[in-house]
Symmetry: C2
Subunit: 446 residues, 2 copies
């Protein structure tokens, strides 16, 4: 349970989160090539007073090229374009600590934060999979725990770079010719196991100080990383019981790291398949599942959990899976899929249908009232601080959510009627960090 209102993020994925969305008559797959499509989505989410929009990303071609939609846009650049047509909504981009340099990434996010007037967020991923590593001079990817060690040091460096210009470093006195007070611009002189970075960053401090830090890893390493760094957590939870357990566990870890429990917002994914009746919603879900191409879905599942299922018969139960300790990919997603298949005794084909809508995120077909009931239930019972809304079809699914679900949430006093702040941090009710280089006494006085 959260003290304030709930938070909503719109996860923008092409023409919809359902893997067959692009084949459905309610979408236009040519929109994938169209910045205006994504700008429309951002405007719709802003009309709904969402906290933020979010773009996923990776550093390889993902899935089955023949049957999967293909990328055009990189998230930080696309969000820069969305910033030009919106005024309030937060802009969260995925980027990898595994295959970037901290100086470059600190700069890109600082720039997005400057350009958007304080609306940038970074969804931090470590990047699993050998295919990704093979685009960056390596045969195999780094082992799971080591990826998080690198991520941890990466964040040390990036946040120090963001702090390297104090807020009041600029003087800008044309008369004397003093542009900056050099005593407030700091080398960071980081020397660690993975990185040596002198600094300062070649960008003054951005409106939020630090762009919002978001994270989605739900493994042991992932949760500890989140407890250390994250301010919002995207997570896939299939049942209320699992969600409350995850929520309580994460908040406990956050407190154990000396941070207030509400300094991290937990946002489970939700794929709302909306209809004016439950039957209509179920018909849409069935239409979409019928468009799934099994070979593509098996390949995607193989990549998702890191276990090769491409030769497994579709109508048999899953084979015995290796212990999670042998998985070097997304460990928590592996466990979620394994538990779902075991709990419901699903064949491979049935499992594909369950995953096709949201790749492990909860899919809920129903009326706006039913979706609002679910959100209220989870929000008021310690399962969520908000939701990562993953519309199955875009833009229609997001438009319907904004027009029909958001008003119900407002009527129940669960969600804001208008923005009260301007920055992404303000929407999530999170403080603006003080630069680590600003003396504590000074920052208390000002």
């Amino acid at each position: 349970m959260s003290a304030g209102k709930l938070h909503l993020n719109a996860f923008l994925m092409g023409v919809g989160h359902h893997e067959a969305a692009w084949r459905h008559p309610r979408t236009n797959p040519n929109a994938l090539d169209d910045v205006a499509h994504f700008q429309h989505l951002a405007r719709v989410a802003e009309r709904g007073r969402f906290d933020s929009v979010f773009l996923a990303d990776g550093v390889q071609v993902w899935g089955d090229v023949r049957h999967s939609t293909a990328n055009r846009f990189e998230p930080i650049t696309l969000l820069t374009a969305l910033a030009q047509v919106t005024d309030h909504i937060g802009l969260i981009a995925t980027a990898s600590t595994g295959f970037s340099e901290p100086y470059n990434l600190a700069r890109l996010f600082a720039s997005l934060d400057h350009i958007s007037g304080g609306r940038a967020g970074w969804n931090i991923v470590t990047t699993a999979g050998d295919r990704s590593a093979q685009n960056f001079n390596r045969e195999v990817n780094t082992e799971h725990a080591r990826r998080y060690q690198r991520a941890d040091e990466f964040l040390d460096v990036v946040t120090a770079l963001w702090d390297s210009w104090e807020d009041d470093a600029l003087v800008v006195d044309a008369e004397s010719g003093v542009f900056a007070d050099e005593s407030k611009v700091h080398e960071i002189n980081h020397r660690g196991e993975f990185f040596a970075v002198r600094g300062p960053l070649n960008a003054v401090r951005s409106p939020q100080g630090h762009p919002l830090l978001v994270q989605a890893g739900s493994s042991e390493d992932g949760k500890n990383f989140a407890a250390t760094w994250a301010e919002a957590v995207f997570t896939a939870q299939q049942t209320h019981e699992e969600a409350t357990t995850f929520y309580a566990d994460l908040k406990r870890r956050v407190r154990a790291h000396g941070r207030p429990a509400d300094s991290v917002k937990v946002l489970p994914g939700l794929v709302p398949i909306l209809g004016s009746t439950e039957a209509e919603a179920r018909r849409l879900a069935t239409e979409l599942d019928d468009l799934i191409i099994p070979t593509r879905a098996v390949r995607q599942l193989t990549e998702l959990i890191g276990v090769d299922l491409t030769h497994h018969p579709l109508d048999q139960p899953l084979p015995a899976l290796p212990p999670v300790s042998h998985i070097n990919g997304a460990k928590s997603r592996f466990e979620l899929v394994r538990d779902l298949a075991e709990r419901e005794k699903l064949t491979l084909r049935q499992l594909l249908g369950r995953l096709g809508g949201g790749r492990g995120h909860q899919v809920l077909a129903g009326t706006p009232e039913q979706i609002a009931d679910h959100i209220e239930h989870w929000f008021t019972t310690g399962a969520a601080d908000g939701f990562n809304i993953m519309a199955p079809l875009l833009p229609s699914g997001l438009e319907e959510f904004v027009d029909h679900v958001v008003p119900l949430l407002r009527a129940r006093d669960l969600f804001r009627s208008d923005y009260t702040g301007h920055t992404l941090r303000e929407h999530y009710g999170l403080p603006r960090p003080t630069s680590r280089y600003t003396p504590a006494a000074t920052s208390q006085r000002t």
Copy 2:
């Protein structure tokens, strides 16, 4: 001499190219923080029918923090914002082969090209200086020749990635569920000395195929790199004689690489200090030079040429300089500064005044007619295919150039009255490359 019209690039640098621009009453240093300022500059250049705008960049804080203007924006993101308010003008960003991964940079430029509808260009720099290296895990920078070897292989990888999706790879047949023809999506399987990259890129081929390749190195290595890869070359030339020598030499190298001479456009930098009379222009030049802060300028010169002059007396001639073979920074800029100081027997203070306007680029104070005469002379006598216009004050200097010089160039039939194409390549009269993976027979047939 160029067969067609001349080309104009607007080099956008904060509130002006003169190092003291921000102190002059005609600028507003707060505009440095304002995306709208840069959007205005891009619109002015587009109103003038310039081929492109350009943003320089580095990966360190450059110059004297106390007296230099500071960055907010990273070029690729800022140009994405400029793309939203313009329709035709090309958008050229500087990025480093020394401190980026080819997969990441290929993606960012492909994304800018998609977002802008084919207007992206990349100014390729190798990045000199130990200060930069120290932000990327190293104590000293790589040696000059080796930087160019890495750049060469970097370009092999990036252009292969841009080709990895053939133009007609997308099928997008909702009925059959076939999104792409996987036989037209290629792993690049690059294995070289510096990089191993499997591919394909996680972005379909962009409107220009390859974003325009721009380069500014004028050393031996730099000119050979340009002859291999560049399609436009920014260069600093102080005299007509040097400019024609450089121009002929570069075109010869281009032909020696089996490319037509006009496949590379040579654009010397020009800082036009405009006045309605020559005396008025000279007054402005003097006003600006009087605002130079010597300690700042000495430090900038030290970084520019890679020789420490911070303890040299201002009113003495330059000390004996080391041979260029000992310089590991920008070799050609070193030679330009050395030759200028020797030719005109300048003291350090006098040299700072000569460099303050354009850091080695030609500064010309005069009336619009005089500026137009200079451009016509160089363009029609084999010194330039166009110019990189570096307004001393922004926006005023660019507005004056567009309003008073461009009309003269049009009246003399030297410059376009309107755009005839939509992409940056079309503005520069350069062909769209065919993907290396498209069979020649097929590409001839289609």
